[in-house]
């Protein structure tokens, strides 16, 4: 028991509800339905308190990992593992500035998915031709719109009123029959910290799950530079794989930009996409180089308008840069033979699940740390490792209880305006 007038198991239910439901208000209603009398402020305060304890525990594990004192919590060495990382954006506000939203800013949250995999290895490429999903115009266009970034519209600053981008279709939806590895157990690491701090958190989680001992290891991400800094720094022995879906988006955008009409653009996309699928990225780069020469170099400076962003010179330059920087991480036929994933669909879907709790029009989290604690709780309930029950089983009590009644006065820890 702790200083609250709730037993440990009731506190566990309260913070689980706070992490599972999309707002503290919904969580409070859910807890009340179980017969526990509690206010929204109490739910919020308890959630942040436990979240802060999870942060402390996570940071302690990072220190132990750095000192090489962190032991795996399982004796089982997984057959194959993947670490995927991606980022999202959440809205924040200045803390202590009174009711309402002040100095609204978007902050990037980073989400990592660590999953064990099951699946065979192959002597030859089990899927040498691209699946139908990548050859269907409607599906590819939708995919490109969903992924946004490489489609040419992505560089637009985030509109505070836009809805969160939908999760792109998974491997399973795009590819049949299934040759890609099957996910077994997933755990999640999420934080607003910088990549320099996030890498060690991921590494500690991987160490606890015995990932470094697995015979087949992969690290999948999009082309963001910080992803590969983390990979080089903490997952150097993992096969670096750039997400195929992101590559498809760049290829589609550049094919559409260089051709005069839609039909020839589609044919060009099919040829380049097939080349990427078959690991012939250098061929695509050579052709893009020729197109860049023909079209001319992109104008200097950032594109300010949508039209400037659609400038074929810019689109081709972006694709050349993306594919050029990542060509060594695009040996997709070999990855398929080795039974490794080729898309970051696991983390894309996980980001969607995290966002369902932390991101909406009404949610503005206090800077700097308002969302960090709730991210820990959300990551805990999305992880399939009983993280919260384990935490509560080991959570120490307090000798100093501050209050003796069920009615607590509100403390200044309100983390968001409406949530």
């Amino acid at each position: 028991m702790d200083e609250h007038a709730f037993s440990s198991s009731v506190v566990q239910r309260i913070v689980t509800a706070a992490a599972r439901f999309s707002s503290f208000r919904d969580a409070t209603d859910a807890v009340r339905m179980t017969g526990v009398s509690i206010s929204e402020n109490q739910v919020r305060r308890l959630a942040h308190e436990v979240g802060r304890e999870l942060i402390a525990r996570r940071d302690q594990k990072v220190v132990e990992h750095r000192r090489r004192q962190l032991e795996p919590r399982t004796a089982v060495v997984p057959e194959a593992v993947v670490v995927e990382v991606d980022g999202g954006r959440i809205r924040t506000r200045a803390a202590g500035a009174g009711p309402g939203v002040h100095e609204a800013q978007n902050k990037e949250d980073k989400v990592a998915c660590l999953a064990t995999l099951k699946g065979p290895v192959f002597a030859t490429d089990p899927c040498p031709e691209p699946p139908d999903g990548f050859q269907c115009p409607r599906r590819v266009r939708r995919l490109v719109q969903q992924m946004k970034g490489p489609a040419g519209e992505a560089a637009a600053p985030e509109n505070p009123d836009e809805s969160p981008p939908p999760v792109p279709p998974s491997d399973e939806a795009l590819e049949r029959p299934r040759w890609s590895p099957e996910r077994l157990v997933r755990t999640c690491v999420a934080s607003l910290e910088t990549s320099a701090s996030f890498g060690p958190m991921m590494a500690a989680e991987a160490q606890e799950r015995h990932f470094y001992a697995a015979p087949r290891r992969a690290f999948v991400a999009d082309g963001s530079a910080y992803n590969w800094s983390i990979q080089r720094g903490y997952f150097g022995t993992f096969e670096p794989i750039v997400d195929f879906l992101h590559a498809v988006c760049y290829v589609f955008s550049s094919a559409a930009a260089v051709r005069a009409d839609e039909a020839s653009g589609w044919s060009q996309y099919l040829a380049w996409m097939r080349a990427c699928w078959q690991g012939r990225v250098r061929d695509v780069l050579t052709e893009l180089d020729h197109w860049q020469v023909r079209l001319g170099e992109p104008p200097p400076g950032e594109a300010a308008t949508a039209e400037e962003r659609r400038d074929p010179r810019r689109v081709v330059a972006q694709a050349r840069s993306y594919l050029g920087n990542n060509r060594d991480r695009m040996a997709y036929p070999r990855y398929r033979r080795e039974g490794l994933p080729t898309t970051s669909s696991l983390v894309e879907s996980l980001v969607g699940e995290v966002n369902a709790r932390v991101k909406s029009k009404q949610k503005h989290w206090n800077r700097p740390g308002g969302a960090e604690s709730i991210l820990q709780l959300r990551a805990a309930v999305l992880s399939q490792d009983d993280r919260l029950p384990r935490f509560f089983a080991e959570r120490p009590g307090s000798s100093f209880r501050k209050r003796g009644t069920l009615c607590h006065k509100s403390e200044g820890v309100a983390a968001q305006t409406v949530a």
Binding site: F6, S7, F392, G404
Partner: protein, 126 residues
Amino acid sequence: MSTPRFTAEELDELRQLAAAWGKIVSKRAFGEDGPGLDVDFRTMEQIATAAAQGLTEGALQQMLQQQAQKVPDEAPCPTCGEPCSTRPHTRALAAQGATVQQAERIAHCPACRRDFFPPAGGSGVG
């Protein structure tokens, strides 16, 4: 001190014991013959829930009281280690299925100028 954990079999045994007390509850509510045909399930459910809540309250209160009695009259302050005298204290505690008056002991450290609650067995953990 580590909390003794009960096995699933041991817990099931306790559940079966409590289930047998259902006959007593039924007898107390409806007499020897049990509920008539005019009693709907909702009413029976209310009775069972009230009985279960009472059982939870009674069991928790008894265990907490017995545990509180085992706390010594004097306990060292967690901060300075100075021995301080303890006195009985109760507070409302929301637990699964019931709210109980938790019996415990409280102490005051004059040096640190704060109250503290000496842990009773494993209740300090969790």
